[in-house]
Structure formats: C-alpha cells, structure tokens
Assembly symmetry: C2
Homo-oligomer: 330 residues x 2
C-alpha cells in the first residue's frame, strides 16, 4: 500500500521568505509555492532593475515574479506575459520614440495600472499586493523597498556609468563592466512587513538569482543583513541555490559579471558573497569539488529547474535541507 504523502508541521506551518531577482528567482519561488502549498510564503523581490521608460515605472523583477507565480508568464523566455505582441512599440518607433526597452501590448497593461496607482499615491508594496491579488497569487510578493533604488554599472571601456537596463537590454551585456552601484540604497527603507517577515521566518531562501545585481541590492537594503543574522540566531535556517552550474549561468550575465568584478565565476564565488549569512548552499553535482571552498554546509542536487516539476523538486530539496523531511515523506 502506497504511503500517502502528507506534509507535517515543519513544512505546513512554516514561514518562508524567498529573496528573488527575476527569472531564476521567480522559478524557485514558484517551486516553493508548489512544494509547500500551506506554508506562509513571502517573496522579496529586487527593485534595483527598475527603470522609467516612456513615463512608466517598469519593475521587471516584480513583474517576472507576478507573471510566473500567476502562471501567465511566457515559459520559454521566463519573463513577460505569454503570447504578447508588440504593436504599440511598432507605432512608437514610427513616432520617433526609443524602443530598445521593448514593452509588449499585454505587458503594458501592468505598467499602465502601476502608473495609475503610483499617481494615486500608492507605494510599490501596496501596488504589488493589488496586482498579485488580481492575478490570484497565493503568496505575498514584496518589493525589497518602496523607495527608488536603481542599479548602475560602470563600463570598463570608458568608465561611463549607465543604468543597468541600458547595459542589460540596450547593450545586451556585450561589454565589460568594472563597477556596480545601487543608487538610492542608503536612503531605502525596507518595504513594510519585510523585516517582520524575516523575524518570523523559519527558513529564508536565497534564490538562484544574479548575486551581483539581483540579490546584492536586496541584501544592501539597510537593516536586512542584520535581520537575517538575528533570524539565524533564533534558529531560522538560510539556504541558497547556486545560480551557477559548472561555472556557467543558466540564464543571464552572472558568471561574466562575477569574473569582471574580481569574484570567482563559480558556485563558490557566489557563496562567498553570502558567506556570513548562509547555513546551507545547494550546488550542482558538477560543482561537487567546490564544497571545500564554501563556508556553508553544501548540499548537492541537480541545479537545473526543468519545467514546473523541476522547480518544485529543487524547492523541495532545499526545504528538506533546511527544515528536514516533511512528515510522511520518508
């Protein structure tokens, strides 16, 4: 007779906080939601990628998380709504507008709604909650801060500082960088509820997001590192998933950026950036040899999230590594 898998108190009543960037973060967050459907889940999202285009405040990582967790994301590319079109951009181009930051017709719906709510005086956290509610998302999605923070990178060739999106989208990361800064981070207050969520968390997940431009801004929000240390002191477990497998990034420029900025472009290089915070760090079997370089307890599991099952599997692995096996899971 088959044992019915029921999830015991350790997972069901768990409070989980996930720190996330865009595509990788949204996928692990979705995996956590699937693996621990009854847990309280707060996804804290990087806002350093935010950019103003055509008068609209674009929050790419928040939108990626909203689209992914509501199931309307373009699964193939990992961001943007499925089946989007670009008729507005075509017209904008005809009218002399810059269109390197391409906003789809469906995607524009979220940007117009956000603009409307910003103009009504709503902070990003309330706007994100409102959008999540309309999209039927059963988790709290929280921007890291309601205050404006923007990531700028310094180009190696001429020392020029450009907005991250100009480097990432307009120049397609086809250029070396030598510096990163988070404009406004010193004055950024943690979003309402963020420190409380950390203070009551049983587990905090560092998603497989870019450590330089996705998780670093989140961790740079004043007060958050201290809150994470306090959480560990009272027994919360912090577990990370490596965004690098065999020295390469699944998606995005993380490996290259690590290298250009003088870090090792490996799972160990990523872990080093989180070293005083991590209890557990997942690495891929390919990176087994790196565990000696990693201060946290390493756990080995396939790091590629293939489809929804892959997300849930990796999330379940991390939950188990941090919180122990769920009741009945053997």
């Amino acid at each position: 007779m088959e044992t019915k898998r029921t999830f015991g108190p350790a997972w069901r009543d768990a409070s989980i906080v996930a720190l996330a960037g865009g595509v990788g973060g949204s996928r692990l967050a979705r995996g956590l939601r699937a693996a621990a459907p009854d847990a309280r889940l707060t996804v804290v999202v990087n806002t350093g990628d935010d950019v103003t285009r055509h008068g609209l405040r674009i929050q790419p990582d928040i939108d990626t998380v909203l689209y992914a967790m509501s199931g309307i994301v373009n699964e193939k590319q990992g961001w943007g709504p499925r089946g989007d079109s670009f008729r507005c951009m075509q017209q904008l181009e005809r009218l002399g507008g810059e269109t390197w930051f391409r906003l789809g017709d469906l995607d524009l719906g979220i940007h117009l709604r956000r603009r409307e709510l910003i103009d009504a005086g709503e902070p990003s956290s309330a706007i994100t909650a409102e959008l999540a509610r309309h999209l039927g998302i059963a988790a709290r999605i929280l921007p890291m801060t309601d205050d404006p923070v923007e990531t700028w990178v310094q180009l190696a060739e001429d020392g020029q500082w450009v907005h991250f999106q100009e480097y990432f989208v307009k120049r397609r990361t086809n250029v070396a960088i030598r510096g990163v800064r988070f404009e406004g981070i010193e004055r950024a207050r943690p979003a309402p509820g963020l420190l409380d969520a950390v203070a009551s968390a049983d587990m905090i997940a560092f998603c497989p997001s870019n450590p330089i431009v996705s998780l670093a801004p989140v961790l740079a929000v004043p007060g958050l590192r201290d809150a994470l240390r306090d959480a560990r002191k009272r027994g919360a477990v912090i577990g990370g998933i490596s965004p690098l497998i065999g020295g390469a990034t699944v998606k995005g420029p993380a490996a290259r950026m690590l290298d250009e900025l003088g870090h090792k472009p490996t799972a160990a290089g990523v872990a080093a950036l989180y070293d005083d915070l991590l209890d557990v760090f997942q690495i891929d079997p390919l990176d087994r040899g790196l565990s000696g370089e990693i201060q946290a307890r390493t756990v080995v599991a396939d790091g590629l999230m293939r489809g929804r099952r892959g997300e849930a599997r990796l999330a379940r692995f991390l939950l188990r590594a941090c919180l122990g096996a769920p009741e009945g899971a053997g």
Copy 2:
C-alpha cells in the same frame, strides 16, 4: 480642349488657419490640405477634451487630426489608428484597472511618446510638431494652448460636474447637461505662433466641429477673439462650415448639447455662437430657410463630407466662398 485647372495666387500663396475639434475638424482640415496643397495651412486644435488616464496625457482631438492628416486614421469611425487592437486594455482590466476610456495598442504608441516628451520638458506645441513630422504631415498642427485646459460639463440630473470625457465616453452622452466650463482657460496662453498665424492669415476656417465643446474652448483662449477681429479688419475672411444639417449632427452630441444649453439646435444656432466673427457661413440645402436668421453671408452646399473627395469638395467650396475662384477654375 480641356482647361487645365491651375490654382492662382489667391489660393497658392494663401495663409489658411483652420480651427478644429476632432472628427469633423480633422476632415475639413484634410480637405483644405487637398484643395489648396500649396497654401500655408495651420490647424488649431481644441485641447479641452484632453484627459489624463493611467498617467498618460491623452489629447484626443490633436490625435484625431494627426491620424486623419497622415492617412492612418480608422476612416470608418473617424478617429484612432486603423486596424487597432485592445490587448493592453484586456490585460489592464484583468489587473483591476478602469478601462472605459479605451486606448488601443497602436494608439498607445502616441500616448507613450507624448508622455516621454512631456517628461523631457517639451510643451504640447513642440510635441505635436514632432509627432506631425514623424507622420509626414504637410501642415502645421497647433494645439490651441500649451497650458492645461479641461472641459467639464454639469449634469442636469444632479448638478454634478464631470470631466467631458466622463460624459462623452463613460456615459456616452446619455444624460442631459446644464452647464459647460473650461477649467484653466483664463490662464491659458495661446500656443506659440497661434496669434501670428491668425495675424497673417488670408482666411480662417471654422471647421464643422461641436460649437460648445470643440470650437468654444478654442475661441475662449485669451486673445484669440481679438486677433480674429483684427484679422477681419485688415481683410482676412472668416468662413464657417455648419456642423448641423437639418437640425441634426453628422457625428456627436452637438445638436443635443445646443438644445440642453438653451441654444437653437440648428445651423443658425451654431452661427449665432460665432456671430460677431463670421463673414461667411456654409449651410446645407436642407437649411436654406435659415439664412434669414444668420448674420453672416450664407452660402449653400451639401454639408456631408463623403470620403476624401467630399472633404476636398467642401473645402474647395469654402475657399472659393472666402477667397474667390482659383485661377483657371472658371
């Protein structure tokens, strides 16, 4: 042997100013462009219909003129780009946004571009010129003012004041009104070049636009009525086209609004609103009997503009009535 129609000095070198609202105005303006291709043509457009939606500053009458004069307008409805779709609005609705003011995906291109240019500090007149240039329009399109003016109407049922677009679009004019006011008009300065264009005009056309909410705001711009009177004194001719035919409007609520506000809902009622300014007023054969009630010299011609030929025909009729026959036109 057929006489070749060439247009003589009176038309070729003419300076023409057209005062316009949306659909009717854009069509006569297009007719004037076609009938007198070498004349200097300035189309002065109502901005009282302007409204802010989703953080975008919508200028419906200017856009209608831009779309019509560039030939990309939806000819059947008279406004909006041809072949537009509404995917953004569908998404916006899903996200809890209000969508009664429907912005098409193509149409959004112009609104994003305008927002971008407003944020860059450009005034409406410069933005409109930039858009017209990209659309290849061979005429100067000028908002009546760069300053914010908004038309509000008072509902008869409860005395409530609502933005014109709420009455016009959201309530589809299915409600009686008892007042109209142009918010901000006292402080509105004529757009740069407007008074100069009038001062050097040979002819000023009052397009067949709504006299209450399209041409009245234009005429209420401080200084314009005086400039029109001065222009007449030095020999410029002011000619109008009736927006009403047999007591009915070709498009829109003009007849109903005239009636509700205590004016005669006829061509004569319209002319009375312009009485001290008009030299010439076109009326439809159906309205021949009204000429005794009209102070201006009435000229009779079919007032329906059927297609582009109809626009050009009516414009040519007005040009002839105001400036005389073009050379060689017999």
